[in-house]
């Protein structure tokens, strides 16, 4: 009892206040999104989703309260057992009978126990965060050895694979968020940069895959991709490795290759895609020769990247065409503006943009949104909840919500950074990464900047499972943080 009194005073007030504001705003938005004009009920009505959400909020707060009462050491000591149990649960989901794990739109991610249903994938985020914190806090990362990341990556890949097998690719993608924590814990920053590079390559190759260059099957996508790779190596060679002369030679050589190709094209039909790949491979060879003969020892990275990029650019089209399902391809094509189809795939995003766009500067006012009230926006109280905010509270309301999210994220980073224990800090960065990834993908999706990936907006989207998991995730951090303050006193 003595300890719990102390906890009350050492809780991080700003984080708690931010949490409350966001949850209340979410609750009001759910009322707005599910409001039925023909039978208007109050916000507390059990008939409304807002009434049910109130129950989820109450239970989430109870869970949060319980976590604050638990001894903080439990999370450290039981991190691995929790993780193992979660993995078993995830594995069970795949083989479980449909009476417990019903098939919802093809995915097997919900556990149904009587009236309560729960998504173990939500639990997996917390369990993986704890496991990563436990494992990585034991490693001395100052040596910057890439081998140290093997175990953490395995810890991530196991639940990732199990969730993909449940056909919940959206939830699985959230595990990418741990890269942010890896970066903070010493992962080479180049990995983040390369990730960005490869995303850009993918976008460019796919988006311009239908624009022909030359007579024999060349595409603008490939040419641009090789250009981006060239830009990358020029930047690296010229500025970072300080090999200016060699870089300029390379540029000249590639120019010669292109001119030769264009001249040849007059006589023979050339596929410019091969020319583009050839320039990348030739560049890789060039750096390799320099590496060996002149002992540069700086270019092994660029060689790997070049080979990777060549392989990736060449196979991106193939991966896109064969590795993705039809609806996933459509979602990406719609995002890139390659197809316009307002009836099927594009409909959700188009209606989402109309709802948000029609909100104007100050919005239409509480319960006055026409697009959301009239059910033009699908999934408007879950994945597309931000549309209600945009339509009813306009630019000002939407910006305030985004700024609140940012402030909460910054607060979490501040909390993480002030921890003495590596375990606490790593866990804190996991929480920040997961929250950030959800916000990035969800709001990016409703704003038409990301492909449609069905993951909830933290604290806003309707449903107990996600609200509980975000609450528990945040409150574990607050509990760990409170323990630190205990010790200081």
């Amino acid at each position: 009892m003595k300890r719990s009194n102390k906890i009350k005073f050492s809780l991080d007030t700003w984080a708690v206040v931010g949490y409350f504001i966001l949850v209340i705003m979410g609750w009001i938005s759910i009322y707005g999104a599910s409001f039925d004009m023909e039978s208007p009920d109050g916000i507390f009505s059990w008939e409304q989703r807002s009434g049910k959400q109130l129950v989820w909020i109450a239970t989430a707060l109870a869970l949060g309260g319980i976590i604050l009462l638990i001894d903080h050491k439990i999370f450290y000591f039981f991190a691995i057992p929790i993780y193992v149990l979660t993995i078993l649960l995830l594995a069970f989901m795949i083989v479980a009978p449909t009476s417990i794990v019903p098939n919802i739109k093809g995915s097997h991610s919900w556990i149904q126990l009587g009236a309560v249903s729960f998504q173990p994938a939500e639990l997996a985020k917390i369990a993986t965060s704890l496991a990563l914190a436990k494992i990585m806090s034991a490693i001395n990362f100052r040596q910057k050895k890439w081998k140290q990341f093997i175990l953490p990556v395995v810890i991530i890949l196991i639940p990732f694979a199990l969730i993909v097998l449940q056909k919940e690719t959206g939830s699985a993608l959230v595990f990418v968020a741990f890269l942010l924590m890896f970066y903070r814990e010493g992962m080479n920053g180049m990995v983040l940069f390369l990730l960005l590079l490869f995303i850009v390559l993918f976008v460019v190759v796919i988006k311009f895959s239908l624009v022909p260059v030359g007579a024999d099957g060349g595409t603008l996508g490939m040419i641009l991709a090789s250009g981006i790779v060239l830009l990358f190596q020029t930047f690296y060679g010229y500025f970072m490795a300080q090999k200016r002369k060699e870089t300029l030679y390379l540029l000249g050589g590639i120019a010669v290759v292109y001119i030769a190709a264009i001249l040849l094209n007059i006589k023979i039909k050339l596929n410019f895609n091969y020319v583009a790949i050839a320039t990348i491979l030739l560049a890789a060879l060039y750096w390799a020769v320099l590496e060996i003969i002149r002992r540069f020892r700086k270019f092994w990275l660029i060689i790997v990247v070049l080979l990777g990029a060549a392989a990736f650019s060449f196979s991106a089209d193939y991966i896109f065409e064969n590795g993705l399902k039809e609806f996933q391809k459509d979602r990406i094509k719609v995002l890139f503006g390659m197809i316009k189809d307002s009836k099927k795939t594009g409909y959700n995003v188009e209606q989402s943009l109309i709802a948000i766009g029609s909100g104007g500067l100050t919005g239409k006012g509480f319960l006055n949104g026409t697009q959301t009230k009239l059910k033009y926006v699908p999934e408007q109280d879950t994945d597309f909840i931000f549309c209600t905010v945009g339509e009813e509270y306009g630019f000002l309301g939407s910006a305030i919500v985004l700024i609140l999210f940012l402030l909460l994220l910054l607060r979490i980073i501040k909390i993480a950074e002030r921890q003495r224990e590596n375990f606490n800090r790593i866990y804190g960065y996991c929480v920040a990464g997961i929250l950030f990834f959800h916000i990035l993908v969800n709001i990016g999706m409703v704003l038409g900047l990301m492909p449609v990936i069905g993951i909830p907006l933290p604290f806003f989207s309707y449903g107990g499972s996600s609200l509980w998991s975000f609450t528990v995730m945040l409150f574990i951090l607050l509990r760990l943080d409170a323990a630190k303050i205990e010790r200081v006193r």
Binding site: R184, L353, G357, S358, F395, S398, L409, F436, L449
Partner: protein, 610 residues
């Protein structure tokens, strides 16, 4: 701290977060504040703007008799996108159409300019109570179909069709010209309905309904706060006397021709009859186009308003005008005498028998052709011919201008009678072109002196001429809307009042002693002038122009009966009976009326009231 070097990495993380969320805010700024297109999309998404049509203004006659009013009608509209599981056969049964028509109509709708599968499109328009009844009962079986309330014209009388005009669907041109109109709207096509369209139509109301993503109506937007109420069209009162009008139409049975009656003091048109006519209710609603085509192909051309659009040579009735203008221009005086050699007169023979020499009064009364030839010649040759015919041509212009000051040769531009012909009072150039500047003389254009040849008038213009004589020198633009401001549209002719009494006297003598003496009305002194106009289509046109009573004239009338014969026989009794009806309010000469009604001059004319 344990790994202090890496601690600075938090700033990279923070910067990434700030950049991405700031990017989202910029995107929001573009979506919500800068780009307006989403607001329009949202409107067309969620708002169903339903037009509410106002009732059209009523039309009354001068005695507040109701002439035209509204009865409810219905349009069937559809929203293509909302049509589901349509049983075409049942729909066609309910609307009493065949499937071929249904398919044709669906194709037409989709081809229409401005077609959208989201907005209501007109499927069938102007159905009556009975026609819509079955469909209305089964409406719930046809999702996507709606019934739109409209109004249809209904008429109290079967006459006055040309005056009232009709209402028809607006064309693409109308829509472009006036943005009040939309596809499927109706507007006045001719007559009063057209000239007072803006008064009669009122203004449409708009009801903004909210529609959900499945097209279901979810109630009114902001509880109807932004709806606009329809405004009923204003009623108008015409100058027409419907009793006089109906009598006129009855008297014209079996004849082709027209009557125009004007109140001289005000220019108000009391009756305007064009025969053959048609029942105005023929051109209402769904039957309109079918009946319109039938009327259009009728050989006697009932759609033409002969009262204002037919052009005739006025014949002898033009001599009243000639007498006035020649006096004014100094060609003759009241006392001028000319010799008449009867049928052997040259260049124009006289068709009447009277003494010689003859004075102006007798010449008008007896319709002496040689007199008016001499008077016309004296007027236009007054200054001689001059060098290269210039003095003659100049004087001709003076004559023409004086004649035109009576409202001849031009449309009444300030009138609300829209369908008018100009008639023709030939200009100097007209003859210059025909004969060269020096190639024409008084003798060349001698037909003008007796109202034949190139001169053309409409019955409305001739009724107005009678008005001018009744007023001794001026007229007020003939018009159809009862409205005091029209009195300001006074036009003084170039003939001064002192020249009128002799013509007035002569016209009175026509009734007392002359060709119209059989049609005198007891107790009312009347003035008139017959005309018998030769033409190339058969018997002469019978003309009569006159006014009554002689003192304080109340009515001026022009009667034209095409290819009938003598004006005195066919036109004069019609004049007399109309004057009796208007002045006495009733007809006592039943026998005369019966006789006129039974007279048939053209067997092709269908009699509407039988």
């Amino acid at each position: 701290m344990i790994n202090d070097k890496l601690q600075n990495r938090r700033y990279t993380v923070i910067i990434i977060m700030i950049i991405i969320l700031a990017g989202f805010i910029v995107r929001l700024l573009f979506l919500q504040v800068i780009d307006p297109k989403y607001k329009d999309f949202a409107e067309s998404n969620a708002f169903l703007k339903k037009t509410i049509y106002p009732p059209r203004g009523l039309i009354f006659d001068r005695n507040k008799q109701l002439l035209a009013y509204d009865k409810p009608a219905y349009d069937v509209t559809l929203i293509m996108r909302e049509i589901q599981n349509l049983d075409t056969v049942e729909l066609c049964l309910a609307l009493n159409i065949d499937t071929v028509y249904f398919k044709k109509r669906m194709v037409e709708i989709k081809k229409m300019r401005g077609y959208s599968s989201y907005t209501p499109q007109q499927f069938m328009t102007q159905l009556s109570d009975q026609e819509i009844a079955t469909f209305q009962e089964r409406l719930n079986k046809f999702p996507g179909f709606y019934v739109q309330n409209r109004t249809l014209r209904e008429y109290s009388y079967s006459g006055a069709a040309h005056v009232l005009g009709s209402i028809g669907e607006v064309s693409q041109k109308d829509i472009e010209k006036d943005d009040y109109y939309g596809m499927g709207d109706y507007s006045g096509r001719d007559g009063i309905e057209r000239s007072y369209e803006k008064t009669l139509r009122g203004s449409k109301g708009i009801e903004i309904l909210l529609r959900d993503s499945k097209g279901r109506i979810k109630g009114k937007y902001k509880d109807g706060e932004q709806d606009t109420e329809p405004k009923a069209g204003e009623s108008i009162t015409l100058t027409l006397d419907i009793n006089l009008q109906m009598l006129g139409e009855e008297l014209m049975r079996g004849k082709v021709g027209s009557i125009v009656a004007i109140e001289p003091a005000t220019g108000e048109i009391l009756a305007m009859i064009s025969n053959p006519g048609y029942d105005p209710s023929l051109l209402v609603g769904r039957q309109r186009s079918k009946n319109y085509t039938a009327l259009l192909s009728d050989p006697v051309k009932p759609l033409i308003n002969r009262a204002t659009q037919a052009q005739y040579s006025p014949g002898s009735s033009f001599k009243t005008l000639e007498a006035l203008v020649c006096q004014q221009l100094g060609g003759i005086s009241e006392k001028t005498l000319f010799a008449c050699n009867g049928p052997s007169s040259a260049p124009i023979k006289c068709t009447h028998h009277h003494g010689s020499p003859v004075g102006l009064l007798n010449a008008v009364e007896q319709s002496c052709n040689p007199y008016f030839w001499n008077a016309f010649r004296a007027t236009v040759e007054k200054n001689g011919y001059g060098q290269g015919n210039d003095k003659f041509r100049l004087q001709y212009m003076v004559w023409q201008k004086a004649v035109k000051s009576f409202g001849l040769g031009e449309r009444f531009a300030d009138s609300d009678v829209l369908e008018q012909s100009r008639g023709n009072i030939p200009s100097e150039n007209y003859y210059n072109k025909m004969y060269g500047t020096s190639g024409w003389r008084a003798i060349t254009i001698r037909s003008l002196s007796i109202g034949q040849g190139e001169v053309l008038v409409t019955p409305l213009q001739m009724a107005n001429l009678a008005s001018v004589i009744a007023n001794s020198g001026y007229y007020i633009t003939p018009h159809l809307l009862k409205n005091d401001t029209m009195l300001a549209k006074i036009h003084h002719t170039e003939v001064e009042p002192q020249y009128f009494p002799v013509v007035n006297e002569a016209m009175w003598r026509v009734f007392e002693y002359g060709t119209a003496r059989w049609h005198k009305l007891k107790g009312v002194e009347m003035c008139g002038k017959t005309g018998t106009v030769d033409n190339s289509h058969g018997k002469p046109h019978a003309f009569f122009v006159g006014f009554a009573p002689r003192e304080n004239p109340k009515i001026a009338i022009c009667v034209v009966v095409e290819n009938a014969g003598f004006g005195s026989t066919y036109a004069a009794p019609i004049f007399s009976l109309l004057a009796e009806q208007y002045i006495n309010g009733t007809i006592e000469r039943i026998a005369l009326k019966e006789q006129v009604v039974k007279t048939t001059t053209n067997s092709n004319v269908q009699n509407l009231m039988e």
